[in-house]
Assembly symmetry: C2
Homo-oligomer: 315 residues x 2
């Protein structure tokens, strides 16, 4: 019987993981964060009171077996005019939520149109906003404000939470329960990954799932979220939500990108995520898997094929 | 072998004819006018330089064998916000024209998504604007300005023409050539029907086609376009473009709607289209077919089933 793999995240990182795994015979379920409130998604939430379509759209496209035409169409963004910045897929999901009555049905219908292999599961169907409390006690409201960041990026995020509190989508709990492998990340730690664990019983479900759990660690830090974070820092934040030693593995890139590739990240105050020398003492039972996971050129991203081969080793 | 039926028009009338015929084993081709420039369609033409999606969308939905969910989605209109008045199907076709590179390919891909039975054929792939010359010599530019109307509705339209001139879509010519039956209308005479015959060799192709040709006459006049028109007046305008006696039949409704249904039309200065007493002298070889074609209640529209049964009689 095919293995059940659950990914947890949102954004580009999840897109890469899903792209890596979609060509194998797994039952793939993508659990997606639901707190995006910027750009096209934010405007649609504000104007039409819908749930955030952006991250769902990306995961649908990642798992789509439809023609290239249709996948490209869903990611198409209008430039200029009234529709400036909107992606067609976001508009499609927004209209579907209106005609179908619920976001749940909208995702189901869009999955049919895009001939999705596997399932894309919003972590919650509640309308929530992400909040971040900084180390000085100040609270930043809204995912996009945390993301930009609109706060002094030198100040650490003390914790993130959702307003109002959110119930887990039962489909997400079911998928985690049945999983053989749970893949967490990569992605923006506080704005794409952790928000999933703030929802109802999601963290508890991961903790008690019989699945092996792996965290695909980010390649780069993000200014205002994870400045100076090492691999252990990422794991520590996740453990605060999931519990100590819940993650069986953390997958770490071992290949250093060239200085030219790093340069444009330096401008955004993003640094390579590295392993501190004494990581073994700090990590207890979480095993570090090191491998060259890097794409050959361009943006510093995980290579889907290299990622797939590491993840396949665990099954 | 299945009969080839070609409809020529645009707008709601064509939607009704296609709905009437789609449930039979015909090879249906819908040739659609391409001069709409109002509302959602007009804004998309202005902002993104695309060809008019609105009438094409309606015909695609009419011929769609997709789920009701998907057909409803394509006709969904946003209310309020930035997207106010836009239909999702129009946005879909606009984005597709951008990602596919041509409107032709956009229609092909949308036809696949909507599982269209038959073909929807833009009468031209040129970017044109409809112009109307009134009896006082004044020229009104733009379909929507003629349609509203922005001119004194007492003034008759002397002629309509396209700027720039347009070449016929070869697919349209081919469909007309192979047709067993050509169904013209119903629809706004000068803004939905005649614009098809202004394109390249379309009128000539209809004239020389071996097909029987039937005009489904409008039920009501339209203020500023066809005030006081009788059935013969409609036929005369069409003959001016197609040639005398090219239409074999004109299908005329014989059932008078009740006065309550007529009342709201009176407010829009729309009247019942009637047959003048001496129509036989005026029509020469075009045969008048009279039947009750009316829907039972609501708007004064052709009933798809009644329409289908009359059209089937001709095959």
């Amino acid at each position: 019987m095919n293995k059940n793999i659950v990914t947890i995240g949102g954004g580009t990182g999840t897109f890469v993981v899903l792209s890596a795994l979609k060509n194998f015979d797994f039952n793939l379920s993508a659990i997606v964060s639901m707190c995006d409130d910027g750009g096209s998604t934010g405007k649609l939430r504000d104007d039409y009171g819908v749930l955030p379509p952006g991250d769902i759209r990306r995961s649908l496209v990642a798992l789509s077996s439809a023609t290239k035409s249709l996948r490209r169409l869903f990611d198409f963004r209008f430039k200029g005019g009234e529709l400036d910045g909107h992606s067609l897929g976001n508009l499609f999901l927004t209209a579907l939520e209106k005609t179908e009555g619920t976001f749940h049905k909208a995702v189901a219908t869009a999955s049919e149109v895009l001939n999705v292999k596997g399932r894309v599961i919003p972590v919650t169907l509640n309308n929530v906003r992400l909040q971040a409390e900084l180390e000085n006690g100040k609270v930043i409201s809204g995912e996009t404000n945390i993301d930009i960041p609109k706060h002094n990026p030198e100040l650490k995020i003390a914790k993130v939470f959702l307003r109002p509190e959110a119930r887990a989508n039962p489909e997400a709990l079911e998928a985690i329960k049945k999983a053989d492998l749970v893949v967490v990340g990569p992605g923006d730690l506080y704005t794409s990954i952790v928000p999933n664990f703030l929802v109802g019983n999601i963290a508890k479900a991961v903790r008690f799932s019989k699945a092996r759990k792996i965290f695909v660690c980010n390649l780069m830090t993000k200014n205002g979220e994870t400045n100076n974070f090492s691999v252990v820092d990422f794991v520590s934040v996740l453990e605060r939500h999931l519990g100590r030693d819940v993650l069986n593995y953390v997958l770490v890139n071992s290949k250093r990108p060239g200085s030219i590739r790093l340069k444009r990240y330096a401008e955004e105050k993003a640094q390579l995520v590295t392993l501190s020398r004494d990581y073994k003492n700090q990590l207890n039972k979480t095993e570090v898997l090191k491998a060259n996971l890097l794409t050959k050129s361009g943006l510093i991203r995980h290579d889907p094929k290299k990622l797939a081969s590491q993840i396949l080793n665990l099954l």
